[in-house]
Amino acid sequence: MSSPKPETPRPSDVYFFATCVVDQFFPGAGMDAITLLEREGIRVHFPEEQTCCGQPAYTSGFPDQARKVATLQLTLFPNDWPVVVPSGSCAGMMKHHYPTLFAADPVRKAQAEALSVRIYEFTDFLVNVLNFKPEDSGSDCTVVLHTSCSARREMGVHLTGRKLLGDLGKVTVAQQDHESECCGFGGTFSVKQPEISGAMVEDKVKALKATGAERVVSADCGCLMNILGHAAWKDKQEGRATPSLPGEHIATFLLRRTAQ
């Protein structure tokens, strides 16, 4: 189920599907991902009509509404270029759930299937298509990596983020307790079951902090919104002025470490 295809030829052009979370809440992560791709000699196309993959409605039990939103995205990538998504979760929706979502609509189902094979999660694309080998230009530091459940279990791309960080000579990647456990975000789960979600993110932030890493990086901004949101809340509760657990998208971290 993992998308890595070492034989995928290096494309000259890619589409970038930013995701609604990156567009509105983490635009810097999107810029940094685009910059990294361009630095690799790829022309990056950003269809301006793009909005959201439809996942929030889909996972909440509203497939009709998800389908309406997904229908728009289906039309935005006419050329046969890879579609790079800086999120395992949204990539998983487009790659694995679009064909199911349009199962009853033969025309759109065919479109969804054709799109599905072109969907790449960002770190997977860097490692397995571009064979990206970062040259570390930073100083010694320790980070901890959080991998989203969709990247891990749906996309099977949990090793590519780790590989990219591992290739950075001066970066130590700390190992957190219960690494593969969910951070507790889960879209509307976080507000429908706030006590359970709150307990999960509390444990996740504790485990990340306990590594002593100076920052957390992740390839999924949904998880970051949850993890950093809780860490900042805790800082506020406990009267800390500087963040005890800063964090950023892996694209931002990689770009900074490899600045030329």
């Binding site: 909005t51 939103v69 879209g187």
Partner: protein, 480 residues
Amino acid sequence: MNAPQTPHALHFMPSEGFRARSKAVVENPFLRQSFRGAMDFLMSKRAAQFPDAEELESLRTLGERIRQYNLAKLPDLLVQLETNLTRNGIQVHWAETPDEANAIILGICQKHSAKLMVKGKSMVSEEIELNHAAEAAGIGALESDMGEYIVQLAHEKPSHIIMPAIHKTKQEIAQLFADNVPGVDYTDNVDALIQIGRNVLRQKFLEADIGLSGVNFAVAETGTLCLVENEGNGRMCTTAPPVHIAITGIEKIVEKLEHVPPLLSLLTRSATGQNISTYFNMISSPRKPGEKDGPGEVHLVLLDNGRSQAYADEQLRKTLQCIRCGACMNHCPVYTRIGGHAYGTTYPGPIGKIISPHMLGLEATATMATASSLCGACGEVCPVKIPIPELLMRLREESFSEPHANPAMRGQGAGYSRLMTSIWRGWAAVYRSPALYGAVTWLGSRFGWLMPSKQGAWTSVRVPLKPAPKRLRDMLRERG
């Protein structure tokens, strides 16, 4: 087989109070730590059983195929099972509802003027609340599985389908024994506690009029009931008393004996991290002439209780692949946080969320499916590859969609809310239109500072969400 029509008045309270119950557990650091430790232990035991990822994957695929093969033939296999069991001298009874199952079992008890029923571990007997019904009929029902015995002494229900008393500490168990078992002083020595339990139960096996058990696999071609257990109490229940009654759900059938070994291997390795259980019983008939022991009568009660509703739908049918190993619970971050009792159903955890709605209706269980981040840990470890997250999404849809004619599930639309539906419709109207999305997100980026500092449940443990002052599309435009 029709979907059950009347909700049965059982003592389950899933939706009502679920949040309050889970809140009480997550706010108790002692319980949090205790569940975490127990689940870590079970996860490591399972992991040690499957060092080879490829072997695990091929075994899971085999398990899935065996279960799907047998479910596809279920109606025929049920008939074949009944024929072969009857030929072997085992009496077969069909129950559509928990009430019917209880009436059948108590009827057999009354025919034998039974005063005491001794029970091996059976989740289906929990599902029908047999102990409650037996007590009301003046028949003693004694649990003989150590975990179930502890739970019964405490007047509780199991909190886990494999480890019923996983929520109890040994100190609590020691106190329970000291308070309830005559002539026993407080000891929290685990071996001593087990010996106390054994002594009490040993006597009861001899006194009991009826032995009750569950069934792990019923083999249609041979008419054999297979029972997996570790303590030997199951074998005592099925051999010592003069009458043995087995009860199981209609989905537990396999056609061939050769289907059993792969499923058994998956079951014990996934459940308790054992290569094989200490006991594996295969029951094919009552005592035959000339035999010195064994019950004179053996009965099997086959229970539907909503299973045929799940069966009728291609996707929901996958729920019935379950072999009840409990691995989904052990690996579930939600179960680990709240424990089994918070769910309020016989079957807790991920499997409970997908099977309980068929048993209790969506009216009572509509919110259960929302208690998942869809992290996929359950589906990843399921030995028969039930796509649990996919089924949870389906149940959300069944709950929240507007009630319609001929629904696939009893209680469809029970969670329907005009407001919530309007919100998602509004969301879709914005996100399907580039122009509207552009306008709304532009406003968000310009006026993000106006975002309220309290954002409902989100800000109970997080800082408020605030859109960035420039969207990615603005940054790209500026860059040119």
